[in-house]
């Protein structure tokens, strides 16, 4: 239990950023920028990621709480801190964990100047909205909340473990416009979602007058799972692992998706870009089990009837009848129907201003190629990010500054704001030493002296081999 709590709190942070890779977006020195915008203007002739090492991304977060909030050394009792946090958080707060691992990543430019890029990556994505009412009920009970309707609809969670096979093409159609698209095949390994719930639990002063209270529960709850039911029949975890891994090669529940992106160089100084990532769905048809509980029940205690029984007679089974009635009212229906699930669609838009020292030619200035072809060693701008989550859009805005320090060292720093956090500072470094491309990115740097205070933890890194067009 203790270690579980450690893990939960370690991975806690502001999840608006869990899908947002604000530093990597537009960082054209890394081929992985193509995964965030297939319309990235890329100058490589070829790249191949070091298998399993070309991109690793982890982010864990919560929208409203840090490990420090709960576990700080303080004279205030930890239970008081938890109680205070429960009252601060609301049903829009959430916890997330996202992880990606590039298995394979490669790209090449053909004679028609199309840059093809493809590969395989594994992704885990989890979100759990904070069910405030249920937390309140568990932590404090109903005694102080007579007449309050505890909202069961706050139960909202989703988790996916999948492999993504992708192939994209990027083409600079004109001096101003680069566009790209990426087709994706999703192979879902495990999936669960419970996002369409409703219902209430209320204890109120009795209106019927039978007893002091009426406890009224009405529920409309559902949980969809795929790839999970069959695992419960397996004897040990190694069998389960093998079964999950076997699904990675197109034998899981499959889905289709597309990424679209474009970069438009308005003029030599101004560049705009936008992308849609994961516009698609997974069709769950294998190993599907869905559970629903739809029911309503009013409990007002045990009604004793005092029947005229003889000495050898037994009293009516009041309690057993009551339990049977409740179980009947909230019977769990198990369904095996196929269902489809939209992928969480992400969108990026960006506008940047280029300035500083011209770079790109042998002597710094690409003087034979001025105009929109010209690159500068610095830029600054604004990025906007959206992700469609079960409870609607999550939004983030980022200011960034980019600087190419030398031919083999580039950095980008970001300042991101969203509904919950106003001070997320990110930094990414890319080094290109000969053909070896290495990058490392992290955010919430302002908390690096004490990560416990950070509401999110995010790290991305990778290693590629790149052959530049000029070589």
């Amino acid at each position: 239990m203790k270690y579980l709590l450690y893990c939960i709190f370690f991975f806690w942070g502001s999840s608006l950023f869990s899908q947002n890779k604000e530093v990597l977006y537009g960082l054209d020195e890394t081929p992985q920028a193509l995964l965030l915008n297939p319309g990235t203007r890329i100058s490589n002739a070829f790249h191949i990621g070091i298998p399993l090492m070309s991109h690793f991304h982890f982010n864990g977060g919560s929208s409203g709480i840090s490990a420090y909030d709960i576990f700080q050394k303080s004279s205030v009792d930890i239970n008081t801190r938890i109680r205070n946090k429960i009252s601060e958080l609301d049903g829009r707060d959430f916890f997330t964990a996202t992880q990606q691992l590039d298995i394979l990543n490669f790209g090449w430019k053909n004679k028609q100047e199309f840059y093809f890029s493809g590969g395989v990556y594994q992704e885990f994505d989890f979100i759990f909205y904070f069910p405030k009412d249920l937390a309140l009920l568990a932590w404090e009970g109903n005694s102080d909340y007579i007449g309050k309707k505890f909202d069961l609809g706050e139960l909202n969670t989703r988790g996916d473990l999948l492999m993504v096979y992708h192939l994209g093409a990027t083409k600079r159609w004109s001096k101003k416009l680069t566009i790209g698209a990426r087709a994706k095949i999703y192979s879902s390994l495990l999936s669960f979602s419970s996002t369409d719930n409703s219902g209430t639990f209320e204890t109120r002063i009795s209106e019927s007058g039978n007893n002091i209270y009426e406890h009224i529960i009405n529920s409309n709850l559902s949980l969809n799972t795929s790839g999970i039911a069959s695992l419960s029949d397996l004897e040990d975890s190694s069998q389960a692992t093998n079964k999950i891994l076997n699904r990675a090669f197109f034998s899981g529940n499959l889905g289709l998706g597309i990424d679209l992106g474009a970069t438009y160089e308005i003029n030599e100084k101004l560049t705009a870009s936008a992308s849609f990532i994961d516009l698609g769905a997974i069709f769950h048809s294998k190993d599907v089990e869905s559970y629903t509980i739809n029911g309503e029940y009013t409990l007002d205690g045990i009604d004793l009837l005092f029947p005229p029984l003889g000495t050898s007679d037994t009293a009516p089974p009041y309690y057993d009848d009551l339990i049977d009635e409740i179980e009947e009212a909230f019977e769990i229906d198990t369904l095996y129907n196929s269902y489809s699930q939209l992928r969480p669609l992400k969108t990026y838009t960006s506008l940047k201003y280029n300035f500083g020292r011209p770079v790109g030619g042998d002597e710094g200035c690409d003087c034979l190629n001025m105009g929109e072809n010209q690159k500068y060693n610095q830029s600054a701008g604004l990025q906007l990010f959206n992700v469609f989550r079960p409870r609607g859009l999550q939004f983030a805005a980022t200011l960034f500054y980019y600087r190419k320090i030398s031919d083999y060292l580039t950095f980008k720093t970001t300042y991101t704001v969203d509904s919950y956090s106003y001070n997320n500072i990110g930094l990414g470094l890319v080094s290109n030493i000969k053909m070896v491309n290495f990058y490392i990115i992290a955010n919430n740097l302002q908390w690096y002296s004490n990560f416990a205070k950070a509401k999110s933890v995010s790290l991305q890194m990778g290693l590629n081999i790149i052959i530049d067009e000029n070589k």
Partner: protein, 181 residues
């Protein structure tokens, strides 16, 4: 020289990334996390008249009923409930005083806890409400949590034959739970 500086910068940043630390926290406080919950639930209720008594005999003055309360004897309940308050509200319109006995028995029908509530007499036009609260904790609670059923005896001081009126009981239990590691 400039390139070396850049390399140094890169290394310094990477070292910085990996030197992040967690401090001023004490994760052992998880041992101190205690869930203290107070749940209020309806208990039993009934509405009886003189017929309930005379069905067993014209001069009968006692009626009984029993219900299981299996959850009380469960391990989860006995480990986590630290106090139980019962509240009984009897509304009597019999012009006769009564008495309610609650005998909490285990599976062997041994009395583990018992309480008696005197009920004031009333009249048909002005029923009298008698409220009664019982708090069970400490050693009494240990015995109480061994019970799995309750026998309710309602006793009239005199025969209720041909007497108008009724006795209405409403009751609730307040369970104080303490969940810890």
């Amino acid at each position: 020289m400039k390139n070396n500086l850049h390399l140094l910068f890169l290394i310094a940043v990477i070292v910085f990334f990996y030197s992040a630390c967690v401090k001023d926290t004490d994760f052992d406080q998880t041992d101190d996390i205690v869930l203290e919950t107070v749940l209020e639930l309806d208990f039993i209720f009934f509405d009886i008249n003189s017929q309930n008594f005379t069905d067993l005999g014209v001069n009968n003055t006692i009626i009984s009923d029993t219900t299981n309360l299996d959850f009380l004897g469960s391990e989860a309940a006995s480990e986590n409930i630290i106090r139980v308050d019962f509240y009984f509200r009897n509304t009597n319109s019999f012009p006769v005083s009564l008495e309610s006995q609650y005998q909490f028995l285990n599976d062997n029908n041994e009395i583990k806890y018992e309480l008696t509530i005197p009920i004031q007499d009333g009249n048909i036009n002005n029923p009298v409400v008698t409220e009664f609260t019982e708090i069970i904790e400490n050693n009494d609670l240990i015995d109480f949590m061994m019970a799995t059923k309750v026998v309710v005896n309602t006793i009239a001081n005199t025969s209720l034959n041909n007497i108008d009126g009724n006795l209405d009981l409403q009751s609730k239990a307040t369970y104080y739970l303490r969940l810890e590691q």
